[in-house]
Symmetry: C2
Subunit: 404 residues, 2 copies
């Protein structure tokens, strides 16, 4: 088999842990597999590098920012190669410019466009483990790029696609994908399998296990992704195509996100173009609007409510205040004390009543739903943040997800 393994920052935080990673890699090599290993920077390193750039400039040139913050992974790459060789496992590091891993030129949030892995694959076929820095690449012009936070997951999946790997193991500090956050829901269960679509919705709706882009890429190239812990030997969760899951659950998981804030524009004129007049300027200010509801019109006036990232709330309010003369609304209300709960499952496609059950459960607990949005395999609601735990546990029970 050909396997790509990816180890995150806590898994390579010091030489002792790097040795631990090398042992895991060695086990697969001893089993006769071809291995490519993608590593993150040691936990804390990237933050230190970012801090230095921000001490020198509030808005550092992203091209130079990328040169600085990409070094952390290069360190762990060399160190892991050394640790493997010390255990008698042939290994060599491959910098992203040596392959190369080609990205677009959206510095500090670049997207991988192509990976030329021929030379590396030839080396792997000779039994040499390839060690590759995650989170980075180079542009067509040969300048260093980074993929943005969590980008190492994407590097691993992209490499697995380029190598036609049989599996891509993402080692992290949790041991798989759960039906809900086990820190809040004690009865949460680890899933053996989950579909790409469900994982994608989970990642988008607040589950921090995998980066969204890595799941998208896995789905597109049919890479079998396994999420598992680098600190245990327990099997993890396999992310696969829907047809590989025999018994589909109605709901596979419940996620929450505290990263959003709610804004209401009160009594704005209900006329064509009002949504564009409102959301156009926010988009120009690079503020990402997520859930949107518009009340029924009353006397030609309406309320529009939407969510933005909590970090952008003040900026969004400022932006809207500047639009008052043009839009003629009555007031702006902003509320950061909200949480978005999402119920996710491919089973929804074929079963009605999933949403209704969610609304009834929350209502029974006396929890008011402020905003609702849905997709084919997901229902999200915005509620007051103080109900997070109560709501999560109640929904987990209602959908039959509790561990025995």
């Amino acid at each position: 088999m050909r396997i790509v393994q990816k180890f995150g920052g806590t898994s390579v935080a010091d030489p002792e842990r790097i040795r631990n990673v090398a042992r895991k890699v060695k086990r697969e090599v001893d089993a006769g597999h071809q291995l490519a290993v993608v590593v993150s920077a040691m936990a804390g390193t990237t933050n230190q590098l970012v801090k230095w750039t921000s001490e020198l400039s509030k808005r550092p040139d992203p091209r130079e920012y990328d040169v600085v913050v990409s070094t952390g992974e290069q360190i762990t790459t060399g160190l892991l190669a050394i640790a493997l060789q010390e255990m008698g496992v042939p290994a060599r590091s491959w910098m992203s410019w040596q392959l190369p891993i080609r990205t677009d030129d959206a510095f500090s949030k670049a997207r991988i466009e192509a990976i030329q892995a021929e030379a590396m694959l030839a080396d792997m076929k000779k039994g040499v483990v390839a060690v590759v820095p995650g989170f980075q690449g180079i542009t067509a012009e040969g300048r260093v790029t980074t993929l943005g936070r969590g980008g190492s997951d994407t590097s691993a999946v992209a490499l697995a696609a380029a190598l036609h790997a049989d599996r891509c193991d993402i080692f992290t500090d949790v041991d798989g994908v759960y039906t809900a956050d086990p820190r809040i829901v004690a009865k949460a269960r680890k899933l053996d399998r989950i579909t790409y679509e469900e994982m994608l919705e989970s990642a988008s709706q607040g589950a921090k296990v995998l980066q969204v882009r890595s799941v998208e890429m896995g789905m597109k190239h049919h890479v079998r992704i396994q999420v598992l812990s680098s600190f245990s030997d327990a099997p993890g969760t396999l992310i696969v195509d829907e047809d590989e899951i025999v018994e589909k659950a109605l709901v596979s998981g419940i996620t929450y996100s505290r990263d959003e804030a709610k804004i209401t524009v009160v009594k704005v004129a209900d006329r064509p173009g009002i949504a564009a007049g409102l959301f156009g300027p926010l988009a120009e200010a690079l503020i990402n609007v997520d859930m949107i509801v518009q009340n029924v019109s009353d006397d030609g006036k309406t309320d529009i409510t939407f969510t933005v990232p909590k970090a952008d709330m003040d900026r969004a309010v400022e932006c809207l205040k500047g639009l008052k003369p043009k839009l003629g609304y009555e007031a702006i209300k902003a509320d950061a004390n909200v949480v978005k709960l999402s119920v996710i499952g491919v089973g929804m496609r074929s079963h009605a009543g999933v949403a209704q059950r969610m609304f009834k459960t929350l209502s029974d607990k006396g929890i008011n739903i402020q905003v609702i949005s849905t997709s084919e395999i997901k229902i999200s609601v915005l509620i007051a943040e103080e109900y997070t735990e109560l709501a999560l546990r109640a929904l987990h029970t209602v959908y039959g997800l509790d561990a025995e």
Copy 2:
């Protein structure tokens, strides 16, 4: 003018000092010059990186070792580019693989073979400051190499040669080249100018201002090197061809080295081939022998005394013990409490009596000379370490080097 500037690890130790470096660079840019800047890693960074590799392996693969330890300079390169841009100075980093800086494949002690600086020079001519990591390059195959400790000086001089720069400024934590170590000789004077040959002997004989290879390269390519402090604005010392120095001093400086140890092989048979039988095995063990003296023969037996690096003394003694059956000497004596003093000056070529004055001065102070070696512009003697300060000060006075 086209100027290469090089800043060492203490000069870029934190963002505030990097800003200070940017200010120095800006001053030259504002004066209308084209600038390339070579930087070391932040002080302490490289040691940390080396420590990690040694925690994973006693003998790490030098190719992977180089991948790890070369990252420190890449960090400061990006940070300095950001600091310059923040001051309104156009700047960009050039990684050694982007130029490229080509070296041989003697990993971790590589030699620069060629620098392709055309693209960078074109950019510099547009007024963009080029920032380049010192201490590293890539092989013809495209693997990362480092040049060994102090290699950033060599990077700077090699880059100055490739760019046909008018000057190469080496900023360090001392403000120039002195007639002797000012920490020991209070009356030591800073030299305005010194010849390549003298600087080369000084660097070889213990003065730690510049790396030997950087001086060799400067001499070969006629690069005007200036050594100066990054923490003051005082002019430094210019290293130039001999014909640029009008008034040649008899002696330009006195150096000392505590890095050597003395070994005496007592009563070895004085027959042809004995020196080869002795020094061949040491060379094979990669032990570098420096000064050698052989006493006149007495009853067909002779004593051979020589020096080796102090760190290799025990290994050298072990090696010689193994040769006893073959060489048939009487005893081995080793002494680490020695210091090598060297008097250096191009004036010696045309003046006799320089050596005699040295021997007489030491004799007058009651200091015994254990070994002597000379070159065209240098006389070195080995004496007991306890006399270091006494001898240095006496010689400094005798050769008329004392500051007024």
